[in-house]
Symmetry: C2
Subunit: 151 residues, 2 copies
Amino acid sequence: MTHDEARERAAAILADAGIELTEAERAAIEVADFGLGRLEEVGLQLVVYVNTERVCAKELVLFPGQECPEHRHPPVGDDPGKEETFRCRAGTVHLHVEGHGEVTLGPGDQFTIPPDTLHWFRAGDEGAIVSEFSTRSRDALDVFTDPRIVR
Amino acid sequence: MTHDEARERAAAILADAGIELTEAERAAIEVADFGLGRLEEVGLQLVVYVNTERVCAKELVLFPGQECPEHRHPPVGDDPGKEETFRCRAGTVHLHVEGHGEVTLGPGDQFTIPPDTLHWFRAGDEGAIVSEFSTRSRDALDVFTDPRIVR
């Protein structure tokens, strides 16, 4: 699957779920393969609604079985690191959080991940749509456990 | 319309839009009439997903023509005041922002309101669902222009 194909597929999944995007947002859907080149297994599709100094909101789309690999959001200056709430909108996502083990989120379920805490997640067989509500995103500063990963 | 009726109506509107809530969230839908007792004209229904020290996310439901009256989110200690992004999910909302005039938001449109900035909004004829992404909510500290209002 190319990144363009992933972008189109994610847009279709969001449209089917009744989540409206502007034309510009559809074109700007971010496809992350974490530099591993195995997008269908390890990857993520993202719509960034807003990312100010203080607040960020995104929609994450995961294809069936797709995984976002283990990482944490480290402190940056006075900022203790990104705090994230994941709210499942459709499908199922299995979230693994340092100190909490596995949390399975279905539609309407959510979990808040404290700053600087290792976590990874994988969609169930139907894939998943997850809303992320967080402090500022600085994706380039994320620390991944797998040293081969480039964000 | 009683507050219970408003709560049920808001839950039905969210369900129709494919927005899944847990049973506990449905029961906890907040109905605000701002102490004016004219809920159908001046009021708001809210689902608070998360409200930590740093991040807040809500779903706002507005019935047709329903208005949230003019207010601002003042600074609190070191905090410059609540910053809010409104993203329209369904229907239409007419948002009035100090220094910007009127902004009309349809599905997929959004607007970020800086801290301590006067704003008010009213739903169009079909009502509206609006996602709010913000810094911490401290609703009791909101400053309303109409001195009769109690939040």
